[in-house]
Symmetry: C2
């Protein structure tokens, strides 16, 4: 089997449904033979490693460990789905605090054990925050950390495909930016159907406004819908897409969807949000995107919501105030 | 994305853990864009279809249905993991009867809706029986039906790799034939380590007999061990390997492990068992294999066990007596 690179890829949270799928996906994509599975939950982690050994892959050098230092040492690429799931009785703030704390420790571990890592994809929720916290504490450059942010866009494509009864391929460049779910900014003007922008179709009899609102609602509820249907959170799509992202960062197939990225420019400051990007061996780069005035306004609104969430995290003492970020990570100064 | 073929592939049992992994694996392997997911459990099936749509695959024509006729019509390849799992209070015989009945109906459905199917891989337990029942009622040729039988061999490779602390690739041609688990016949003489048959290593200080017995026990308990470790039955390895099998039947990468196949020759009659095979576009073909006298005897014993199981199934009225098989399927006459 030919692999794209021999660099060490670490899957954090490998004992879980997303992490175990990530590992299988990375192997099948032929990214690297050197894959290390890490998770603090030893038995399930070993079970995943056993399953993957039992697949009989060729040329694979699969390791696993519950020791974070061992896992991260020499890591060049990391995909992290190792957050906690929301449990009964937990408030949204409990989850936010818990996963932000996990991201903080992860960032510190990266700084301590693999400062030469090339790229990290953060998947656990809320990824805009956990990615930002990881970036802050790891000391990495903004180009080296991305978060999974493609699912709203792929769900938009899927819903449009179902609505019009056409192959998903005929819907090109479906895009949401900014935050996720209810906070996403849908850029319908960039979405092409048979060469026509979706904005020219919305409000016509082909796609009445009411139906368009329903489509967007279905996108927002896409994750909840999976739970209702399958009785478990989605794991195949987040796993697959995040491995596509790390594959692009390794110099493989370009990633075709928005990614969560640290933005600090004239318009948006000190925030992690879904943007148009390219992900290459040189890392992630924000690409320009131009929507209608209403879409741009929606993106501004989404940004403001993300700022409020970030500031809440700061006020909870999980992150220091922005003016102190440069002390923690000189790349953010 | 380039696909191996455009023939219709049906995943039966697609709502389950094995089936949903099969679908993702088949897409990622680029076997065919025309994949139909079938399962009688509608909501979970839709959830799996949604997840796969959300992956954003290119060029995919994914359909799903709870209507078996719709699913099987025009099917050219089928992988079936649609058996029932053993539930609390069920005896072994209950499970056997239940899954044999499912296989019988599946065989009849194949005969009714897709008599031109090229190849079927049967995965649900006990696969030696469910595969045989499928073959009998479908009317297909023995070359067109295989069962997943590779896991004992991949587990043997994995256990040897762990025991010797060497890459799995250095263990070549690890093989078990006949039945599964405790009934498997291990062909250590065909297994090469650095060019040396394993039989020359067993009983030496490198691999004392006691340790070899422990390795075999670990292979037998490989599936149970996954349940103990992960809290769920293995699904990634059976899914991956069975899709490798159907890929080989489509003319893709050769399958590198034993497969369950209908055998009726001078030595073994009217039985489905793990053998050395090739799987190509022309179907499955049994290949000769030569073990030590002790290994050959173990295979004979394994065959006799499978015959007893088959005869039990006949005595339960699930299958007709062998002398009537030709009336049901002229290819077995």
């Amino acid at each position: 089997m030919n692999y794209l690179t021999t660099d060490k890829l670490v899957i954090v949270g490998a004992a879980g449904m997303i992490g175990s799928n990530m590992a299988q996906t990375a192997i099948m994509m032929g990214l690297t033979p050197n894959i290390c599975l890490y998770d603090p939950y030893g038995p399930a982690l070993e079970g995943v490693a056993e399953e993957l050994r039992h697949c009989g892959f060729e040329g694979l050098n699969l390791t696993y460990t519950t020791d974070v230092k061992e896992a991260l040492t020499d890591a060049k690429y990391i995909v992290n789905s190792g957050g906690a799931a929301r449990k009964a009785g937990m408030t949204r703030e409990d989850l936010l605090k818990g996963n932000a704390a996990i991201a903080e420790q992860f960032g510190k571990d990266v700084r301590a054990y693999c400062p030469d890592v090339r790229h990290i994809v953060v998947v656990f929720n809320p990824a805009d925050i956990t990615g930002l916290v990881t970036l802050l504490y790891s000391g990495l450059k903004p180009s080296q950390v991305t978060t999974l942010a493609a699912l709203d866009s792929t769900r938009l494509r899927s819903e449009l495909s179902k609505y019009f009864g056409i192959p998903a391929d005929e819907i090109v460049n479906s895009r949401t930016y900014g935050g996720h779910g209810e906070q996403m900014a849908v850029f319908a003007s960039t979405t092409m159907m048979n060469g026509k922008p979706l904005t020219e179709i919305i409000g016509t009899e082909k796609l009445p406004d009411k139906d368009w609102e329903e489509i967007k609602l279905k996108v927002v509820q896409g994750g909840k819908n999976i739970i209702d249907l399958r009785g478990r959170s989605s794991f195949q799509s987040p796993a697959y897409l995040s491995i596509e992202m790390i594959g692009a960062a390794m110099g493989g197939t370009p990633f075709r969807w928005p990614a969560g990225v640290y933005v600090n420019n004239d318009r948006y400051q000190h925030i992690m949000m879904a943007m148009e990007t390219t992900i290459t061996k040189d890392g992630v780069k924000v690409m320009p995107v131009k929507g209608t005035p209403a879409e741009e306004e929606a993106l501004d609104k989404s940004y403001r919501h993300l700022c409020a969430l970030r500031d809440e995290v700061i006020s909870l003492g999980i992150m220091p105030p922005i003016d102190q970020w440069g002390k923690l990570n000189s790349n953010l100064g």
